[in-house]
Amino acid sequence: MSSKAAVVSTQTPDWSERFGALAGEALHPLLKEYYEAGCIAPDTPISDVPMVAMDFETTGLNPDQHSIVSVGLVPFTLKGIQLGAGRHWVVRPRLPLHQTSIEIHGITHADIAKAPDLEDILDPMFEMLRGRIPVVHYRSIERGFLDVALRWRLGEGIEFPVLDTMAIEAHLHPNRRPTRWQQFRGQKPVSIRLADSRTRYGLPHYAAHNALIDAIATAELLQAQIYHHFGPEAPVQDLWL
């Protein structure tokens, strides 16, 4: 099962070079500082990479129409996820809460009313992001929403590398949808959703859903994926996107 596999496609930049360039271009001090902290060398073994699992709960899937409701971050390495260092923030969305997402997140209008704007938590957020590679499950959400949110608030967007546990699962299960014939033979589609992916690695079920627990769940999933498929020596450039 330890087949080495590169998830990466050719368009992935060398993030360590890219950060050098972005540091020069960035105008807002927060982003400048972020890029200047640098990005780890591409050939660094994954076991030496400082990471931060990141999860956003949002009011929907489209960054241009929907908004971030909560943020969960937890710093970790392959050897350990520091639960105590994990942070969770509820933030006030710019757009009205969509009814269906309320049920999912358990965040109510009352919570939102008291919550700060995302802008107010950017300092502690970036404190945790600096020098660490973000790990997410389905990068379009975290990348897209953070980029749009910063454009609105700072006047410029953000680029950053991610390790995407869902992309890894997608890569490992290229033929997720069985053909009609396979369906007839009883083959079930492979789900690469966070909870279903975790089950494949014997990871426990979490009853609660909030951005911090999901970030932790994502960090655990990445550890499992590395130990099962890539090994601690795999260079980070094989996996980042």
Binding site: I81, L83, Y201, G202, L203, P204, A211
Partner: protein, 625 residues
């Protein structure tokens, strides 16, 4: 702790010792957790490496090993490991390996210390509850290991002191005094060789010479003990201990083939291991009345628990407990003879059942009988023997060996008979087998002479060994009876539970575990004409005849050891918790490791019963409903 981590806190709050931990403290613990994933087969802790974490299994399963590489335990969700390293020098004592894909929560040493010092429940748990065995095994292992790994020669501190067996009483006593020894070996010249012929001890001088006021010129050969129990020089100390316990001797000549290399005394071993059951045994012989015996009988349970904590195996524990029971019986017989005078005709006091098999535990009743010399005349002699039997039986009851409910005791006239009557009993059981009768006399096929003319018991063993293997009908009946009790395992490897006295669902580890096993081993042993009584020794004898395959024998041995040791631990835990030990085990009292291995062991019993049914043609129904 972030409120969003409540899921993690709630998981821990389901498992001891965190279930009783104050919320604020538990929150603090959760804030220090580091999570790490281990793929199945990965090493988590390696022996001797530094460790500064306590490990909690969030999901998956972990195997814990002994230093020797032997599997110690299997633990799962909600269980902890690594505490022994933390308690002792921060070095890994018990290596750990992920058995399944495992998610670990680990806590730093500082939080472990904080909990250990501030939460008594936690401290008790890591110290006592979870792993009293481990921990006490750790602190005591080396000591008990010495008994099990050191040779008897280590106890020999001087050349053997001997004299020709032609010396007189006074001369023998003078040699012993001059040399400062408590035992003198007596040699006989035989074709230029000096062969060991007998032994005389301090105790013999007191009981056989002084108390009888023998003249100093009495030949020592008149009072010396012959047919000596000896031990090989390559034997382990614990074997010497068991030999002494079994034979009630306090001195053992250590032999290198025919040469005596030295003598070891009970006191040598007691010095070596002052807590051992031997100490208790030697104490038994110092008691001057039933009250004294009754008083020290309270130590029997402590001695039992100590052996369990020292990681002794079931054979050692069973032998030691039987040895203690024997010693009580023997001392009571001595006291009885002091009170009633010497016996009018020779007799043998016989142990039956578990004591005879060397498989006694703490919850036990007395099963015994008397074989009298054939010159026995009921009118003249029986009053004496009844009084003696009653004295012993009452004394044993005082010491915690309850009366036999089936009345298999020497106080019952039927079981207090001359040798020829006994021979008649056994001949009848074997040659005219009747199921119902055999069910009740089963217990007589585990017999051992423990006092007096033990030759009588040996005669009976010989008779059984010779006749039983030739009576197919007898073996069939015995096999059928042994199938009456089946292991508590259902079709899908689930435990079959019964309600115990307190309406709790449990299974009886004796009735449905060790007893059916020793029953079926007995049948095979009888079939191959073995004289052995102990189940492990019987298995060895069966192995020599190829009646069973080596694999099957190995499985039976392992199953017996495992069921017995689980039963023993169950009783030891009850004693430590101040409850009355019993044989009823609830599945939830067992660790997942014990549960799974017990099922394997019961499966072995079940298969062995199927083979027994086939081998002895015992398939047609059951004898008794």
């Amino acid at each position: 702790m972030q409120a969003e981590l409540i899921d993690i806190r709630n998981h821990m709050a389901n498992y001891p010792p965190f279930d009783e931990m104050p919320e604020e403290l538990l929150d603090r613990v959760v804030g220090t957790i580091e999570v790490e994933y281990f793929r199945a087969g990965t090493r988590i802790l390696e022996f001797g490496k530094a460790n500064h974490w306590l490990y909690y299994i969030r999901s998956g399963a972990v195997e814990i090993y002994r230093r020797s590489g032997e599997l110690y335990n299997r633990i799962g969700e909600g269980e902890m490991f690594g505490q022994f390293g933390l308690l002792m020098h921060q070095k890994v004592r018990f290596p750990a390996k992920a058995l399944e894909d495992t998610l670990i929560y680990r806590f730093p040493e500082e939080i472990f210390r904080l909990l250990f010092e501030n939460d008594d429940n936690f401290a008790d748990f890591v110290e006592v509850e979870d792993n009293s065995r481990l921990r006490s095994a750790l602190s005591r292992r080396e000591k008990s290991n010495e008994l099990m790994t050191s040779r008897v020669t280590r106890l020999i501190t001087r050349e053997p002191v001997s004299a020709p067996c032609t010396v007189r009483l006074q001369e023998a006593a003078r040699i012993m005094t001059d040399q400062g020894v408590s035992a003198l070996l007596l040699m006989e010249e035989n074709k230029g060789h000096n062969d060991l012929k007998g032994i005389i001890t301090d105790r013999d001088l007191r009981t056989r010479a002084l108390s009888e006021a023998l003249p100093s010129e009495t030949p020592i050969s008149d009072i010396m003990s012959e047919d000596l129990i000896t031990i090989r020089d390559n034997a382990f100390i614990f074997e010497a201990m068991l030999t002494m316990l079994h034979n009630n001797v306090h001195h053992l000549p250590v032999m290198d083939k025919h040469e005596v290399r030295g003598v070891i005394a009970l006191s040598d071993i007691v010095k070596y291991e002052s807590q051992s059951s031997l100490y208790l045994v030697s104490n038994i012989y110092h008691q001057q009345d039933v009250r004294g015996l009754q008083k020290i009988s309270r130590d029997v349970r402590d001695s039992f628990v100590r052996m369990v904590n020292e990681d002794a195996n079931s054979h050692m524990i069973g032998s030691a407990m039987a040895g203690i029971g024997r010693s009580f019986t023997q001392r009571l017989l001595e006291l009885g003879e002091e009170k009633l005078g010497p016996p009018p005709v020779p007799y043998c006091f016989m142990a039956l059942g578990s004591m005879a098999r060397d498989e006694q535990l703490v919850v036990t009743d007395q099963d015994n009988a008397m074989i009298l010399d054939d010159s026995f005349n009921p009118k003249e002699h029986d009053e004496y023997f009844l009084a003696l039997a009653k004295f012993v039986s009452d004394g044993l009851a005082e010491c915690g060996y309850t009366y036999c409910t089936g009345d298999i005791m020497a106080t019952n006239q039927k079981w207090r008979q001359p040798l020829n009557v006994w021979k008649g009993y056994f001949t009848d059981w074997i040659e005219n087998p009747k199921a119902e009768a055999l069910l009740n006399s089963n217990i007589f096929f585990d017999l051992d002479g423990i006092y007096g003319k033990t030759d009588f018991a040996e005669d009976l063993k010989t008779l059984v060994a010779e006749k039983a293997s030739n009576s197919q009908r007898f073996l069939t009946m015995m096999a059928r009876n042994s199938l009456n009790r089946t292991p508590p395992i259902g079709f899908f490897r689930s435990f079959v539970l019964e309600e115990d006295g307190q309406q709790r669902k449990s299974f009886n580890l004796k009735r449905r575990g060790t007893a059916p096993l020793s029953d079926l081993i007995r049948v095979h042993a009888l079939a191959c004409g073995s004289r052995a009584q102990n189940s492990f020794e019987r298995l060895r004898a069966i192995g020599n005849t190829k009646l069973l395959l080596d694999d099957d024998l190995g499985n039976l041995r392992d199953a017996l050891e495992f069921i017995a040791i689980v039963r023993i631990r169950h009783q030891a835990i009850a004693i430590e918790e101040g409850r009355d030990p019993d044989n009823n085990v609830r599945p939830e009292d067992l660790s997942p490791f014990e549960r799974s291995h017990l099922k394997d062991a019961f499966q072995v019993v079940s298969n062995a019963q199927k083979f027994l049914r086939f081998r002895y043609n015992a398939g047609v129904g059951r004898n008794v409903q």
